[in-house]
Symmetry: C2
Subunit: 296 residues, 2 copies
């Protein structure tokens, strides 16, 4: 039986590329066969796992330039039965795809607004007079290329290969260090709110990172500082902190935190028990390792 | 000479509505006449002030459901000569605009994806069979209405008035507590990085809030906790905390913080001097009051 892996579609976008890397990694390590299941939104790909339609989802968590993917944070907080199994870090390499003979023939460039913004310097230098047109995704931008020989799209190398389209220039993003962290998530049967016992027995004993989220009581000075001090006292580094509105009223936040520690370390359990006293709701999303797609 | 107020255009969107409220407030209080100057992006409206083309800008900082406006945060960090003069809190009330005779005749609803998402429950209840079409802004959605009598758009009451279009339903957002905080920003001639002396002499002596942002040294456990502890020790509440990537590499952040205190209070200056020891770069965006547009 193939493992089903949900991801944001259509094929050729960066979520599918990350899911494809993960399938290759599974094939190399556990030899488990897997299939990709595209969904029309990130939220729907996460829900597919929560509701048992897919076994895993590969979802974008954070980009080094754009920041957190808020849809992913909100869905992880709302759905109570998910666990992060692995983090994948993938470089984002934009390419210029076109059926034009050369750059001189291009009059319009289509892509998602974020991709257009990330290639702004390159576009100003090499295509200063073209018209830039925003599309809903980097793959949607490909649709016009076969009929319009003066059009180009900014998308991924994988999209060019999948749709059999020529690449005119590669690595055109202004910041070469652009990368996105994805999470591989599965179901977790243990209730995660305010009850830490017996959780994450399944997590790898040598996992390097733990992700969690909590809300703090409103209008209590120092509430967040106290919560963070728990980790500081143990010398545990935070590799990420992100606030999201509770959606109840302005000024009330949830905090999403990644710590560089394994949930199963003896020191961590008392720290999390202490954290319970400073937080309203505390959710642990699991301990996991971080894998670079360059290594796959 | 009229005061020029930059904002994200076109007229009828929520930024323009906030700027319009501010003009009315100026007229009532200081009697100063002002004119609105629409710009094609939030970043361009902020730059207009930094470069002296406009005296003030009214820019969205945070929505109670969507969270921080990342473009505003990034621009405030990058531009060194801006100061927040006032915060405006404005309820976001979506209305359904259409030239159709009644709801039964509507086949398509156009709006910005966020507005469509915020009215999802109402749409499912009252217009379950319509097609939803995403546009780049809530005002762009209005363009099709006069020629297509089966089309509707979700936008603001002010947009309906400005473009002389009929409203079929009002307050259709699923969460009535939806509101956005805007900042009114001006130039500030004082250099704000790592040099606190002599700043903000112009800020109101009874201002209630101060906004600041800082980066902390990378990979130092407890760096953020130490910085936040400075305010906790003084019993100062944080009304907001937001992290943004530095755009250098994953895991390096800037922190945007609003504290419920005036920069000119005697206790604050030593606290900010202490904060300098825990931060790499510290920028103070000013002390200001918070005004609800309901009160204007």
């Amino acid at each position: 039986m193939n493992i089903s892996i949900a991801h944001l579609g259509p094929p050729g976008n960066y979520s599918e590329q990350a899911a494809f890397f993960y399938i290759n990694w599974l094939a190399k390590t556990t030899k488990e066969p897997a299939i990709l299941c595209p969904y029309p939104s990130i939220a729907q790909s996460i829900k597919a796992v929560a509701q048992g339609q897919a076994q895993l989802a590969v979802i974008p968590a954070e980009n080094s330039i754009e920041g957190s993917v808020t849809m992913t944070m909100d869905a992880m907080w709302q759905l109570d039965n998910l666990q992060i199994r692995l983090a994948l870090i993938m470089p984002i390499v934009h390419v210029l795809i076109s059926c034009a003979a050369d750059l001189g023939n291009i009059k319009t460039v289509y892509s998602h607004p974020q991709a257009l913004a990330q290639c702004q310097g390159w576009l100003e230098r090499y295509l200063p007079n073209v018209q830039l047109i925003a599309t809903n995704s980097t793959t949607e931008a490909l649709e016009v290329l076969e009929t319009d020989l003066s059009a180009a799209a900014i998308s991924s190398e994988r999209a060019a290969q999948l749709y059999n389209l020529p690449t005119l220039a590669s690595g055109i993003n202004d910041r070469p260090e652009n990368c996105t962290r994805f999470w591989v998530v599965s179901q977790n049967q243990v209730n995660k709110s305010k009850n830490l016992e017996g959780q994450f027995l399944a997590s790898s004993p040598n996992a390097s990172h733990t992700s969690l989220a909590f809300s703090v009581p409103a209008n209590v000075p120092g509430a967040l500082a106290k919560a963070l001090q728990v980790f500081a006292n143990l010398g545990i580094n935070l590799s990420r902190i992100e606030s999201r509105p509770t959606k109840r009223s302005l000024g009330e936040y949830l905090f999403f935190i990644d710590i560089e520690a394994n949930f199963n370390e003896p020191l961590i359990q008392p720290a999390l028990t202490e954290l319970l006293t400073y937080t309203e709701v505390l959710k642990i999303f699991g301990s996991y390792n971080v894998l670079s797609t360059d290594a796959i």
